[in-house]
Every structure is written in structure tokens, then in C-alpha cells.
């Protein structure tokens, strides 16, 4: 056994142990979060798989550029293998997100901006595989799919990073989990816009009352599909200028908070908060999360290189069959 092979084998065993360690840490080391319970542990799986999806599609695009430049079969195999691995990670990110959404948001699919864009990305790459399987001429298939892959890769940053952030409100991390970031919330007025939307929840302002140092806001909340309608009364501490009572949305573990009140004009700034805000500020969660990113990156490298090897071997076997007339 050569030194290189021995090193490769050792790296794969290390990856196996590393990922097993992450799984153990995900369940036993990462703490529970108030409101999210055990569902908060999903961050160790969901976010790294989503990030590796972007890495995989970017790697695939680089291989496609190399193929168009040098016309080497190995580059085409690399592009397909990386795209397939990226697709797999994208499916993992989506399904793990759906599992989380079902527990925390009450339904597995909310048509949240990020959910919608990741679905579009999945469809774009599914079309890439469909295109490859639709063309019989091998050379043409490689050339056209490489060009298509570049167009697909161009949409990826927009769909994963730009579009979800352009949305006014989303249930996703950029306003719920990552410390320092926030949704802007919505202003509702007694003498103006009384109805607004936070994510897919419709809010209707019913009244604002002052009880001593507290401003109590009465808000009618309608959940998606009108499953639940409830009257919530979040409050705001006037002296400190901070939210006081934050009631839970019916059937969900998100909270409704009043972030500002203008008693003179009868206005209130309402926002949605996730109980797990600041999830990564815990050092145990943070390091497990970072280790998970490294582990999934290693898994992606192993997966796509293995798949590229298999594709190249298939190619060699096909040529062998043509040359010698032997069964593959």
C-alpha cells in the first residue's frame, strides 16, 4: 500500500470518527434552547449542509469552466459529481429544515422566501441532470451541460443569499437566530394601517392602553390558513424602552414583541422573535457547529471525488467494450 493511499484511508477513518463525534455532540453537548427545545439542535446539521451546497455548486461550476477550456473528460466528471453531491446536500438542508419548521412553525412548508428560493435552486439543478440525460451525443452533452451549469451557478448566490434578504419578513435565520441581525418589524396604527403581516402571520391592531409604566398592545393574530386566530397582548416598558411581556403565537414557538410605542399617535412597532435568538453565542454550540462545517466539507470532498472516479471508470469500461467487444 502506497503512502498516499494509506494517508487517504486514514483521512476517511478520521472523517468517520469526526462525524460520529459531531452527532454525539449534537445530542449530548449542545444545550437545549428555551422555546425551541431539542429542535434547536438542527442548526448543527441544517446550516452546514446548506453552506456545503453552495460550495459544491461553485466547485461544479469551476470544473465546467475547466471542461469548456481544456475539454478533458475528468473535468466533466468532476462537474457532474460535484453537482450531484451539491444536490444531495441541498435536499438534506431542505428536508431537515422542513422537519424543524413542522415542529417550530407548525407546518413543514410555509413558502418562506428562503424555502421558496431553495426549492427553485433544486429545480434548476434537477434540470441540469435532466439535460444531461436527454442528450445522446456524448460530446454535445458535455459541452451543453457545462454551459448550462455556469448559468445555474450564477443564479445560486442570488437565490441563496440575495433574494431571501430582500424579503421584508422571513421566518429564517437572518431575522430569527443570528445574533445582531433582526427583522425590521411592522408599524401598526390605530388611525392608519391597522393590519400587517409578519412572515406568514397576519396581525391586526385592536388597541393600545397604558397601565402605569406599561403600554399594553392588543393584537389579533391570524395564523397561516386561518388555522388559529387569537388575541395577544404584548407589552412595552415605557421607562426602560424595552419589550416586557412577549406572548407566544398560537401553535408556534415564536414570540410577539412590541419594540416601540408611540402613545400620542396610537402606533406600535411589532416584531416576531425566535426563542433561540443568539443560538451560536453559546461556545459549545458554536464549536460543534464549526466542527460540523469541517466534517460536512470533508464528506463532500470524499463523495464528489468518489463519484467522479466512478464516472471515469464507467467511461473506461465503455471504451474497453467498444475496443475489445467485451461486456462491461
Amino acid at each position: 500500500m502506497s503512502d498516499r493511499l494509506r494517508l487517504n484511508q486514514a483521512a476517511k477513518i478520521l472523517l468517520g470518527v469526526w462525524m460520529a463525534g459531531i452527532i454525539v455532540a449534537m445530542f449530548l453537548v449542545v444545550p437545549q434552547y428555551v422555546g425551541l427545545g431539542d429542535a434547536g439542535r438542527i442548526i448543527i446539521l441544517h446550516v452546514p449542509t446548506a453552506w456545503i451546497t453552495t460550495v459544491a455548486f461553485a466547485v461544479s461550476a469551476v470544473y465546467s469552466i475547466r471542461y469548456l477550456w481544456k475539454r478533458r473528460i475528468a473535468d466533466d466528471a468532476g462537474a457532474v459529481a460535484a453537482a450531484e453531491a451539491g444536490f444531495l446536500f441541498c435536499v438534506l438542508a431542505t428536508t431537515s429544515g422542513m422537519w424543524f419548521a413542522n415542529i417550530v412553525w407548525g407546518t413543514p412548508w410555509n413558502w418562506d422566501p428562503r424555502e421558496t428560493t431553495i426549492l427553485i435552486l433544486l429545480l434548476i439543478y434537477a434540470a441540469y441532470f435532466a439535460l444531461r440525460s436527454a442528450l445522446d451525443d456524448v460530446e454535445r452533452r458535455r459541452r451543453l451541460s457545462a454551459v448550462y451549469n455556469l448559468f445555474a451557478a450564477v443564479t445560486m448566490p442570488f437565490l441563496l443569499f440575495v433574494a431571501p434578504r430582500m424579503a421584508e419578513s422571513t421566518l429564517h435565520p437572518n431575522c430569527a437566530f443570528i445574533q445582531g441581525s433582526h427583522c425590521d418589524g411592522i408599524w401598526l396604527e390605530m388611525n392608519g394601517t391597522r393590519v400587517g403581516q409578519l412572515g406568514d402571520v397576519v396581525l391586526a391592531l385592536q388597541g393600545i392602553e397604558q397601565h402605569g409604566d406599561l403600554a399594553v398592545v392588543q393584537v389579533e393574530v391570524r395564523m397561516p390558513g386561518l388555522r388559529d386566530v387569537a388575541l395577544l397582548t404584548p407589552s412595552f416598558e415605557l421607562s426602560s424602552g424595552k419589550p416586557a411581556d412577549r406572548p407566544e403565537f398560537p401553535g408556534q414557538q415564536f414570540l410577539l414583541a412590541v419594540e416601540e410605542v408611540d402613545l400620542t399617535n396610537g402606533r406600535a412597532l411589532l416584531n416576531m422573535e425566535a426563542p433561540g435568538t443568539g443560538l451560536l453565542s453559546n461556545s459549545r454550540t458554536f464549536w460543534t457547529f464549526m466542527a460540523s462545517n469541517i466534517g460536512f466539507l470533508g464528506l463532500f470532498i470524499w463523495l464528489y471525488r468518489l463519484r467522479a472516479d466512478v464516472l471515469l471508470l464507467q467511461e473506461r469500461l465503455a471504451r474497453r467494450e467498444v475496443t475489445y467487444g467485451l461486456p462491461a
Partner: protein, 76 residues
């Protein structure tokens, strides 16, 4: 089997399931990896170590007493 889903035990059950799934995936990948390596080795062995002999022809022209030999080959 209901005891596996009791609140105090459920987290360990989930951990065991997740670990089992990972071990299964790892073994699956390892086996494909080994099979791929073995197949590549066999194909490398099967492939001729040297390129096939280049077709050659030897022409001998006799011109009286002199004899001239020319070797023709399409080797570049």
C-alpha cells in the same frame, strides 16, 4: 418499545438512530471506495504497459550490385 420514546430516553434513542445511519452511510461509501480502487487497479493491469507496435515495412531496392534498405514507419 414505548420506553424508547419517553422524554428522558428519547434523546439517546435519536442519538442511536443517527449514529446507526451514519455508520451505515460510512460503510456503504467505504465499500464503494474499495471496489472502485480495485476496479481501477484491474483496468490498469489489463491495459498494455507499452503502446502497440507501430506498423513497419522494410523495402529493399536492388540496383545492380548496390543494395539500399529503407525502413518505413508511421511512428512520429
Amino acid at each position: 418499545m414505548d420506553f424508547l420514546l419517553e422524554p428522558a430516553i428519547a434523546i439517546y434513542t435519536a442519538l442511536a438512530v443517527a449514529l446507526t445511519v451514519w455508520v451505515g452511510i460510512f460503510i456503504f461509501l467505504w465499500r464503494i471506495d474499495s471496489a472502485t480502487r480495485e476496479l481501477r487497479r484491474r483496468l490498469d493491469e489489463e491495459a498494455p504497459a507499452e503502446p502497440p507496435a507501430t506498423p513497419q515495412a522494410t523495402l529493399e531496392t536492388r540496383n545492380g550490385h548496390a543494395r539500399e534498405t529503407t525502413v518505413m514507419s508511421d511512428k512520429k
